[in-house]
């Protein structure tokens, strides 16, 4: 079947196309060049419409045990947002941590066609993939979490060479079906278990004697050397601590030019100036990002309202539990891998700290020059549920709207931000870079995020509207792998997305040491740890898309 999308205004940064009228042809799920003489089976007239590829959320917590803990902890959040079944969609519930099916529908209804879970614990990777396997329409993938696992810390204490660590990282990625590596509060989650309640970049884990700086260096090196496209995905030290802007600047400097992605950087950009000893470090951070081309970031914008924070960083979540609203929270240890903390949060515009957090996130968006190195996230659900993205896009694209909102927040916070003086407004092309082409490039997706021939036909069509929130809330059409899944912001058909992975090579002898370790310390045997392709594909829903490593000939 040949589908033709006629006359849309195309924004395809991957091909350098910035708002040109173009026809797009789709056959067998992929975009093709204009065929010589084939008959068009279905034509969509898109004259005057805005056409982009499907959006990609490169950091969203949609799979893994913490989601279920958050769901269990907050039944009231679900009671307030029940979702009924229809002939084509399943029932569920929404808001801060929606059910899997509703997650898929709501993402698709905003024009998103892929989401990547940034905190897949190796031990829980199977559950994370099964949960993501229940999310319809979206493509998905995961970054496997390392850096506080006892095995790596033992290797570092024993001064194992980089090659051995590379093998361990590659083996874990392959076994856990990951496309990237994430580190959360490097070594800090582990230090929490030895009764440390904070861990600075150069502070030693009291048991292993390893510092976060060393962990970051060795993991960033491993990721680069085994050829994974996605740079080491870093949730740094001291999340949420006033004054952590210095930690973040030191982290950037300490990585020594290796590729590194700093995630939800808003939570790591706080100074200690002013009457409340809490200030914005966004300008310093943005300057460092602009200068260091090896660094990419996503923002982790907060937006006001009820949400729930779910993180592997049990050290910081434990410290924040007194802010829980409603007043209930969970932190836990997860075997020898990491930890988990779930704390419900209500961000309030009349709270000085929350209001300034909001402004810091926006300052970061607006002061970082290169849209290819900054990504639009709320760290769903930690800063806000993903359903608030259209509102966030409007804040970025519409200065007068932004200033109107700014005028309503806590007055002291207004005085502490330069937001009002920043004139920048994001263009549609820049939004397309942040949410499509840039994200695909950052993750290393070879045939997504673009509209040139050869790409999969993940396409979103919007009606241009000066109110960007309305525009991005309700796409006219969304195609996933060439199938029309959304019309006028409502799901009209569903399908299953693929799971994106990389398969780096490793020396098989790596399993020797690991087998003893698994037998002695873990609840699972080594053989069961490894997820086979069949587990994802056997029910006929899922599929696996392997992406090339750097150095591969594509």
């Amino acid at each position: 079947m040949l589908i033709k999308l006629t006359g849309g205004i195309v924004y395809d940064p991957a091909s350098g196309i910035d708002g040109q009228q173009q026809d797009i042809y789709i056959r067998d799920g992929r975009i093709i060049a204009k065929p010589a003489d084939a008959v068009v089976d279905k034509e969509y007239d898109l004259k005057g419409k805005v056409v982009m590829s499907g959006a990609i959320d490169m950091h969203t917590h949609i799979g893994g045990g913490k989601g279920n803990i958050a769901r269990t902890l907050l039944p009231e959040d679900h009671r307030q947002d029940p979702v009924y079944r229809s002939d084509i969609t399943r029932s569920g519930c929404g808001h801060a941590m929606p059910s899997t099916f509703v997650t898929g529908y709501r993402y698709a209804e905003m024009g998103y066609t892929a989401g990547f879970e940034p905190a897949v614990l190796p031990n829980n990777a199977r559950q994370a993939h099964m949960e993501m396997g229940d999310i319809p329409i979206l493509d998905k993938g995961g970054y496997v979490m390392l850096g506080s696992d006892d095995y790596l810390l033992r290797m570092l204490t024993a001064k194992k060479d980089q090659k051995a660590i590379n093998d361990y990282v590659a083996w874990t990625m392959t076994g856990a079906k990951a496309i990237g590596v994430k580190v959360v509060n490097p070594g800090g989650i582990n230090a929490f278990k030895f009764n440390q309640r904070k861990l600075d970049l150069d502070e030693q884990n009291s048991h292993y004697g390893v510092t976060p700086r060393e962990i970051l260096r060795v993991l960033a090196t491993a990721v680069k050397e085994i050829g994974v496209a996605h740079p080491l995905h870093v949730h740094g030290c001291n999340l949420g601590v006033p004054g952590n802007v210095q930690t973040t600047l030191d982290t950037i400097q300490g990585i020594g030019g290796l590729p590194m992605h700093l995630t939800h950087i808003q939570f790591h950009s706080y100074g200690t100036e002013g009457d409340f000893k809490f200030s914005s470090g966004a300008a310093q951070i943005a300057e460092a990002i602009n200068r260091n081309k090896n660094i990419t970031i996503d923002v982790g914008q907060i937006l006001f309202g009820q949400t729930v924070t779910a993180s592997g960083d049990n050290m910081r979540q434990h410290a924040n539990h007194k802010h829980a609203s409603p007043n209930k929270w969970v932190t836990m240890d997860i075997e020898c891998d990491a930890g988990c903390g779930v704390v419900p949060f209500k961000y309030k515009d009349q709270n000085f700290v929350n209001a300034l957090q909001w402004a810091i996130g926006l300052e970061t968006f607006l002061l970082v020059n290169d849209p290819w190195r900054i990504f639009l996230t709320t760290d769903h659900p930690n800063g806000a549920p993903f359903t608030s993205y259209p509102h966030l896009i409007r804040l970025l694209m519409d200065r007068s709207f932004r200033n109107d909102m700014l005028a309503t927040i806590h007055p002291e916070a207004q005085k502490m931000t330069t937001l009002a003086s920043i004139e920048r407004e994001y263009t549609l092309q820049e939004i397309a870079i942040m949410t499509r082409a840039g994200a695909a490039k950052l993750i290393g997706l070879k045939d997504r995020g673009g509209l040139s021939a050869g790409n999969w036909a993940d396409i979103t069509v919007y009606t241009d509207n000066a109110d960007r929130q309305k525009m991005f809330e309700k796409p006219d059409y969304v195609f996933k792998d060439g199938q029309l899944v959304v019309v006028d912001g409502k799901v009209v058909s569903t399908k299953w997305g693929t799971t994106h992975v990389v398969k780096p090579e490793f020396d098989a002898s790596v399993e020797k040491g690991l087998k003893d370790y698994f037998d002695r310390y873990l609840t699972m045997k080594l053989g069961n740890f490894k997820i086979s392709d069949d587990e994802i594909t056997e029910d006929g829903r899922g599929s696996i898309s392997v992406h090339p490593l750097q150095g591969d000939v594509a």
Partner: protein, 270 residues
């Protein structure tokens, strides 16, 4: 005007959500309109007149005759008026009751008076588990008003209770008054294990010596002047609680739960 009466034709096969049939939703509606309302029952939506025979017209005075234990959510969010249930009530009787009066001649199921705000609930028979409690996961149970149960109650009566009175003429099950923040629960009969488990504040008033956890401290015998005033407030009730001969002012006082903030009290008649 005579009471608006719903007489159940026969016990339905599936549970029925009765929440539409409360006084404030029905006021101003004709009998024909009320008959045409639908109630969720299992997978089906049934018309009111498929389930009930309707008589009378006073929507502020509702009677449910021949009631069964699978009629759930009777009197949900009732805000003024009265509902009289002849027979049993299902789960979530008087859920979120705001004001007004609900009386049941038989037994009530789980979660009766769940998150009740104010008003009066009387159950002539027994009540199930989680009487006056919070919904699972919620932090606040009953916030005000009075519940009178003439029979026995199940486990977890007053779980997360914040304010109001629960008066039980019979026995209470295990975990009576668990996680209470405040309020009063009076039990004339026996109480089960783990009385006042993790209670923070509030009062458990007992006629019989309970089996207390180690996390309750004996504070000795006291004569409390507030007790006659409390019993005085029960004078108008259709209950043994109104009987002057059951009142007392001399109690043994235990404080707990010390594994929580420990400002709750268990008062036992001496």
């Amino acid at each position: 005007m005579s009471a608006l009466t719903f007489t159940l034709k026969s016990k339905p096969a599936q549970r029925v959500d009765m929440s539409p049939l409360v006084c404030q939703h029905l006021s101003g509606l004709s009998i024909a309109e009320i008959s045409a309302l639908t109630l969720q029952s299992g997978k089906l939506k049934l018309r009111v007149d498929e389930l009930f025979t309707l008589t009378g017209s006073d929507t502020q005075d509702i009677v449910i005759n021949n009631s069964a234990d699978n009629l759930d959510f009777i009197g949900q969010d009732l805000d003024g008026g009265s509902i009289t249930v002849n027979g049993d009530a299902g789960a979530y009787l008087a859920f979120g009751l705001k004001s007004g009066e609900i009386k049941v001649s038989g037994n009530a199921g789980l979660y009766a008076a769940c998150e009740m705000k104010k008003g009066y609930l009387e159950i002539a028979g027994n009540a199930g588990d989680f009487l006056g409690a919070a919904l699972p996961g919620n932090k606040m149970g009953m916030k005000g008003g009075t519940i009178l149960v003439k029979g026995n109650v199940g486990e977890r009566a007053g779980d997360h209770m914040r304010r109001g009175n629960i008066l039980i003429e019979g026995n209470a099950g295990d975990y009576c008054g668990s996680r209470m923040t405040a309020g009063t629960i009076a039990v004339m009969g026996q109480t089960g294990r783990y009385l006042g488990y993790a209670m923070r504040r509030g009062t458990l008033l007992l006629w019989n010596q309970p089996k207390l956890s180690a996390s309750f401290n004996d504070c000795g015998a006291h004569t409390l002047a507030f007790l006659p005033i409390l019993f005085g407030s029960f004078k108008t009730l259709n209950s043994r609680f109104a009987d002057a001969s059951i009142a007392f002012n001399r109690v043994q006082r235990y404080a707990g739960d010390m594994s929580e903030m420990g400002r709750g009290e268990v008062l036992v008649k001496l």
